[in-house]
C-alpha cells in the first residue's frame, strides 16, 4: 500500500512513472461520458435543419415530435406510427454521422428505404404521413467541424434576404412615386398634348372616331402653363437614376436582372472586408443621400433654400450606425488555422463597420510557447472573445458547437445587431479524436469550463447586468458542474455519488495528453485519493500524503481511477481562475457586492444592538414621563378652488367657448359681435351697436349664451322694456 502511494505521489509531483501503472489510459473516457457511447440511439439537439423563415434553425428531434403530435392518433393506436417515425429519425442520424449531406426530405427518403422491412405496408404509409407533416424543408447539418460555418452562414443569408426584400420594397416605392411625378408633369406638358402622343395613347379600335388635331387644340387651350421647374426635374431624374442603379441589394428572384451585378458581402478575411467597405463607401453615401432626397421630394417638402445647402454638406460623416442597419452586413468566417493576428481582428471589429466575424477554434489545448511541457490553455482563442467585449459596441458570443442550437435565439440577435459581431465557436479538433464524436468533445469543453458559453449583447441594455449573460452554462454558480453518477460496486450493489466534470476530465478525452494520467490499481483506492474538484477547492497541506484523481471508464464499462499529475492540476487552476473572472463579470459571487453586503450587515447589526440597548435602558428607568401625544402637523389647506375672475354684472359678455357659430348674432351686427380665431363669437366692440341689438341677439341666440348686461346709455329708446327682457339672461 505504502509503496503504491509513494509511486502515485511521485507520479503526481514529477510526472515520471515507476512501476507498472503505465497508462493503458488510451481507450479510457471520463466516467460521466459513459452513458453516451452510442450517440445515434440518443435523441438530442442534432442534427439540425437549416430552413428559411423566422425559425431558421430547427432540430430534427423537435420537428419529428411536432409532426407526430399533428398526425399521430393518441394512445396505443398511434404507437406504431411513432415507433416507425423514430426509427427513421435514428437512421437519419446514422447517415449524417457517416457524413451524408442533403435536404431533410432527401435524407428521409433514403432512411426510409434503408429501414424498410419487407412486407410491412403500414410502414410506408405511416412514414409518408409523418413526412407530409414535416415542415419546412432544409439542409441537414450534424454536429461536426463544418457546423459553425454552415449555421452562421445560413443565419446571415436569411437575414440578408429579409433586408434585401425590405430595401427593394422601400426603394421600389420611392422610384414609382418619383416616376409618377415625372410622368404627371410630362402629361401636362405641351408635347404630350400634340396629336402623335394623343393618338398613341388611345387603343387601336377607336382611332378613327376622333379628330386628334381638334382634341389637341382643345386640351392645350385651358391647361396649366408651367410644369416642373428645371432644377427640380433634374434633381428627380438624378435621384431616380441613382436608386435604380444601386448595387447593394440584389434584384428580386425572378425579376429581370439589373444592369450590373449586386455586390458580394462575404469575404475570406477581415482586411478584404474592410477594404471592400471603404471602396464602396462613396456609392453607399450616394444611395443614402438619394433616398433622403427622394423621401422629401415625394412628400413635396423640398425647399431649395433650406435643403440644398444641407444636402451639399452631407458626406460619409453624416451616416450613423442606425443608418448602416439598412445596408447589408459583411460576413467573414475564419478557421482558427488561418486566424490573423489578434490586433488586426480587434482593429477590424472596433472600426464600426457592420462586420460579422466567426472564428472557429480548433484546439483548446495547444502546447505553450515556452515549450517545457506545461499546458497552455489555448489562451489566444479563449481570450479573443473577452478582448472583443471591451471594444464597446461589438456583439460577442462564445460557445461550443454542441450548444449552438440552444443559443440560436442569441445567434440571431447577434446577426441582426447593427454593429460588428464576433462569434467564437469551438467545434472539436479538425482531425477528430477517433474515440469520441465531435459533439461530445464540444460539449465536454463547455461542461469543463475550458470553453464556457457567454454572450455580450450591447443592444440589450445600458449596463453589464443586462448585457452579459452566462446562463447557458450548466450550474453557473458552481466551479464545476456536478452530476449524480450511479455504478455497481464489487458486490453488485448500486452506489450513487456526485461527480464533478472538471478541466482534468476534459483533458482526459484528448489522446495527446495521455501521459499526464496514471492508472491506479484497484487495491490502491482509498482515503489517500481525492477527486480533482476537492483538491482544487482546498489543496491539502501535505502534498506528499494525497493524490488527485479522475474517474474514468474503459471499453468494457469498468470503472477506473486515473491519477493526475501536477502540471495538469496547475492548468486546471488557471482554468478555474478564468472561470471565476467570468462569474464575477456575470455578477455571480461578485466580490465587491459581497463586501458591501457584509459591511451593510455589520452596520445594521450594530444599529440593532444599540436600539436594543436603548430600549432596555428605557424600560429600566421608572421615572420616564408618559409619552407625549404626537402632534399632527396642521392639515394642509385644501387646494384653493380656482376662482373665476369676478365679473362685472353690468358688462355684456358671451360665453365664447360654448358658441356654435350659427351666425345669428353676427348677422344682427357684424361690428359688435365678431368671431375669434376658432370661429366662435365674442363681443368685439360694445359701443358699435345699441342695447336693443344686444337684447335681440341674446333672444335669438339658440344656446342662450349672450348676456346683455346693462345698457351703456340709460336714456336709450325703450330701455325699460329691454331691461325687462334682458332679465332672463342675467
Amino acid at each position: 500500500m505504502d509503496t503504491q502511494l509513494r509511486d502515485q505521489v511521485v507520479f503526481h509531483l514529477t510526472g515520471r512513472r515507476t512501476g507498472a501503472e503505465s497508462a493503458a489510459a488510451a481507450g479510457l473516457r471520463p466516467a460521466l461520458l459513459a452513458a453516451y457511447r452510442h450517440l445515434e440511439s440518443l435523441r438530442y439537439d442534432f442534427p439540425v435543419v437549416l430552413a428559411e423563415g423566422e425559425d431558421c434553425v430547427q432540430s430534427l428531434t423537435a420537428m419529428v415530435d411536432a409532426a407526430l403530435r399533428a398526425v399521430a392518433p393518441q394512445g396505443t393506436a398511434g404507437e406504431g406510427m411513432r415507433r416507425r417515425a423514430l426509427r427513421i429519425e435514428r437512421e437519419i442520424r446514422k447517415l449524417v454521422a457517416g457524413g451524408a449531406r442533403g435536404t431533410l426530405f432527401k435524407l428521409w427518403d433514403a432512411a426510409a428505404q434503408a429501414a424498410a422491412e419487407a412486407g410491412e405496408e403500414a410502414f410506408a404509409k405511416d412514414v409518408a404521413r409523418v413526412r407530409s407533416a414535416l415542415k419546412p424543408d432544409g439542409e441537414v447539418a450534424g454536429c461536426d467541424a463544418d457546423l459553425p460555418r454552415r449555421l452562421i452562414r445560413h443565419a446571415w443569408s436569411v437575414e440578408q434576404r429579409v433586408k434585401a426584400r425590405q430595401a427593394r420594397d422601400r426603394i421600389g416605392k420611392l422610384v414609382i412615386r418619383l416616376e409618377n411625378i415625372l410622368r404627371a408633369d410630362h402629361m401636362r406638358s405641351a408635347q404630350a398634348l400634340q396629336k402623335p402622343e394623343l393618338q398613341s395613347s388611345f387603343g387601336g379600335a377607336h382611332q378613327t372616331l376622333f379628330d386628334f388635331d381638334a382634341m389637341s387644340r382643345l386640351l392645350s387651350r385651358g391647361g396649366p402653363v408651367s410644369g416642373l421647374e428645371e432644377r427640380r426635374r433634374r434633381r428627380i431624374e438624378q435621384v431616380v437614376a441613382t436608386l435604380k442603379s444601386q448595387r447593394f441589394f440584389p434584384a428580386a428572384p425572378g425579376a429581370a436582372a439589373a444592369a450590373a451585378p449586386a455586390y458580394d458581402f462575404e469575404f475570406p478575411d477581415p482586411e478584404a472586408a474592410l477594404k471592400a467597405f471603404r471602396d464602396r463607401l462613396p456609392q453607399l453615401v450616394e444611395l443614402w443621400v438619394a433616398m433622403q432626397l427622394a423621401e422629401i421630394e415625394v412628400e413635396g417638402n423640398f425647399v431649395e433654400d433650406v435643403h440644398e445647402p444641407l444636402f451639399a454638406g452631407l458626406d460619409e460623416q453624416a451616416i450613423t450606425p442606425q443608418d448602416l442597419e439598412f445596408f447589408p452586413d459583411y460576413l467573414v468566417c475564419l478557421a482558427s488555422a488561418e486566424a490573423p493576428e489578434r490586433a488586426a481582428l480587434t482593429a477590424a471589429l472596433s472600426s464600426g463597420v457592420p462586420l460579422k466575424v466567426m472564428v472557429q477554434v480548433d484546439d483548446l489545448l495547444e502546447e505553450a510557447v515556452l515549450g517545457h511541457g506545461s499546458l497552455a490553455l489555448g489562451l489566444r482563442s479563449v481570450q479573443l472573445a473577452s478582448t472583443a467585449m471591451t471594444l464597446g459596441d461589438v456583439f460577442v458570443l462564445q460557445s461550443s458547437a454542441s450548444n449552438l442550437y440552444q443559443l440560436r435565439g442569441r445567434l440571431q440577435r447577434g446577426i441582426g445587431h447593427h454593429g460588428p459581431a464576433l462569434f467564437s465557436i469551438y467545434a472539436g479538433p479538425a482531425g477528430g479524436a477517433p474515440k469520441l464524436p465531435a459533439y461530445l468533445l464540444a460539449a465536454a469543453a463547455m461542461q469543463s469550463r475550458a470553453f464556457p458559453a457567454f454572450s455580450y449583447d450591447p443592444g440589450a441594455g445600458p449596463d453589464l447586468a443586462s448585457r452579459f449573460s452566462l446562463e447557458n452554462n450548466p450550474q453557473p454558480e458552481r466551479d464545476w458542474p456536478e452530476e449524480s453518477f450511479s455504478y455497481a460496486d464489487q458486490v453488485l450493489q448500486s452506489v450513487t455519488e456526485t461527480v464533478a466534470f472538471t478541466f482534468a476530465d476534459f483533458v482526459a478525452c484528448d489522446p495527446r495528453y495521455v501521459h499526464h494520467f496514471a492508472l491506479a490499481p484497484r487495491a490502491a483506492w482509498g482515503e489517500t485519493m481525492l477527486p480533482v474538484r476537492d483538491w482544487l477547492a482546498s489543496p491539502p497541506q501535505d502534498p506528499a500524503s494525497r493524490v488527485p484523481y479522475v474517474l474514468a471508464v474503459d471499453e468494457a464499462d469498468l470503472l477506473c481511477r486515473l491519477v493526475v499529475d501536477d502540471r495538469l492540476i496547475r492548468a486546471a487552476q488557471r482554468c478555474r481562475e478564468s472561470w471565476h473572472r467570468l462569474q464575477e463579470f456575470a455578477g455571480i459571487h461578485d466580490s465587491r457586492v459581497e463586501r458591501i453586503l457584509t459591511r451593510e450587515r455589520q452596520a445594521w447589526e450594530e444599529q440593532h444592538r444599540q436600539e436594543l440597548a436603548a430600549a432596555t435602558a428605557l424600560i429600566a428607568a421608572p421615572a420616564a414621563e408618559p409619552p407625549k401625544a404626537e402632534s399632527r402637523p396642521a392639515a394642509a389647506a385644501a387646494p384653493a378652488v380656482e376662482a373665476e375672475p369676478a365679473r362685472n354684472p353690468d358688462e355684456p359678455y358671451i360665453e365664447t367657448a360654448r358658441c356654435s357659430s350659427c351666425n345669428e348674432c353676427t348677422q344682427i351686427n357684424a361690428k359688435m359681435f365678431a368671431y375669434n380665431e376658432n370661429k366662435q363669437a365674442y363681443i368685439a366692440d360694445r359701443k358699435a351697436g345699441t342695447y336693443r341689438q344686444l337684447v335681440e341677439a341674446a333672444e335669438s341666440c339658440q344656446l342662450s349664451i349672450i348676456h346683455p348686461g346693462k345698457p351703456l346709455n340709460p336714456a336709450e329708446d325703450g330701455v325699460a322694456e329691454l331691461l325687462e327682457r334682458a332679465k332672463l339672461f342675467l
Binding site: I296, H307, D323, E677
Partner: protein, 319 residues
Amino acid sequence: MSTASTCLHHLFEEHHVLEDYQGGVPRWCKGCGDNAILAAMQRLCRDEALRPEKTVFVSGIGCSSRLPHYMRTYGFHGIHGRALPIAQGVKMARPDLNVFVNTGDGDCCSIGAAHWIHAIRYNMNLTLMLHDNHIYGLTKKQASPTSPLGTKSNTTPRGSYLDALNPLSVTLGVQNVSFVAQAVDWIPETLFQIITAAYRHKGFSFVRILQRCPEFVGSMFEPWVHDPQKMMMLMHDDGIRLSPALQKIYKNVEEHDPSNIDRAREVASIDDPIPVGIIYRNPQVPCYEELRGAGALRTADSIRTSLDAEFDKFTIWPQ
C-alpha cells in the same frame, strides 16, 4: 431613421390659419347647426395642420352635403346616397389623402343605407360625419328615417307612423365596427374633441352629430338644448373629458369605457338623455386598404406583364 434624416424631414413645416380653409360663404340658414360643424372642421384642419391639397371632403345630397363647397380643400359633391362609395374609391386610389365624408340622415340612412353597412365592415381609414337633423331639409321638410314618431311633415301631415331608426345601434351591430361617437352641435367643445378623436382613429370613424334645423323643425331639440341634465356626457381617459367650465354646467356625467362593446350598445340605445361622447373605439380592427395591399410592387412593368398574361388566355389564334 436616424437623427440626420429625421431632422431633414422635419425642417419643412406648414402653418395654416382658419381662413386658409374657408371656401365659399355658407348659404345655410341663420342658426343652422351645420355652421357649428363647419367651424369645428376648419379648426380641426388648422390644429392638425392638414394640407389643403391632401384633404378631401366627399358628400352626397342635402344641406349637410353643401359642406365641401365651404372648405378650401379638395372636395367631391356626389349624387344622392353615394358619398361613401366615392369616398372609398378615393381612399383606395390615393391612400395618402385625408378623406372626410359629410352626409345627412336621408343621404346615409335612407337611400345610402346599403353603402353605409358595407363601409362599416370594410373599415377603411375615413371619417364620416352624419349631420342628423331628423328631417329632409333641402327638399323642404319631409320625414326622414330618424324623424321621431309623430313628426309632422309634408309627407306625413298627421305625424310620422314609424319609430325612428337609431343609426348608432345599427352601426354597432355591423361586424368590424371600430369607432362610433355621438356629438351635438350646441356643445362645440365636445364636438371638436370628438371629431379630432375620429380623425386620429385609424379606421372607419362614424360620428353622428345631432344638428338643429331652425327653419323646418326648430323645436326638435329644444328640451335638450336648454336643460343640461338631459345631456349624458360620456367621459373616460380613453374617450373625452370636459373642461372645468363645462363641468359646472353639465353635471350628468357617466364614466364609460369605449372599449366595452356591450355597454356601448346599451348606451347607444338610450334616447333620453342624449349620450354625448365616444361610445365605442377599437383600434385593432384591420383596415381594408391594408388587407388588400398587394405584396408585390405595382410597377408599370408588372401591370403590363400580368395584363398580357390574362389577355393571352383569350387570344384566338388564326387557325
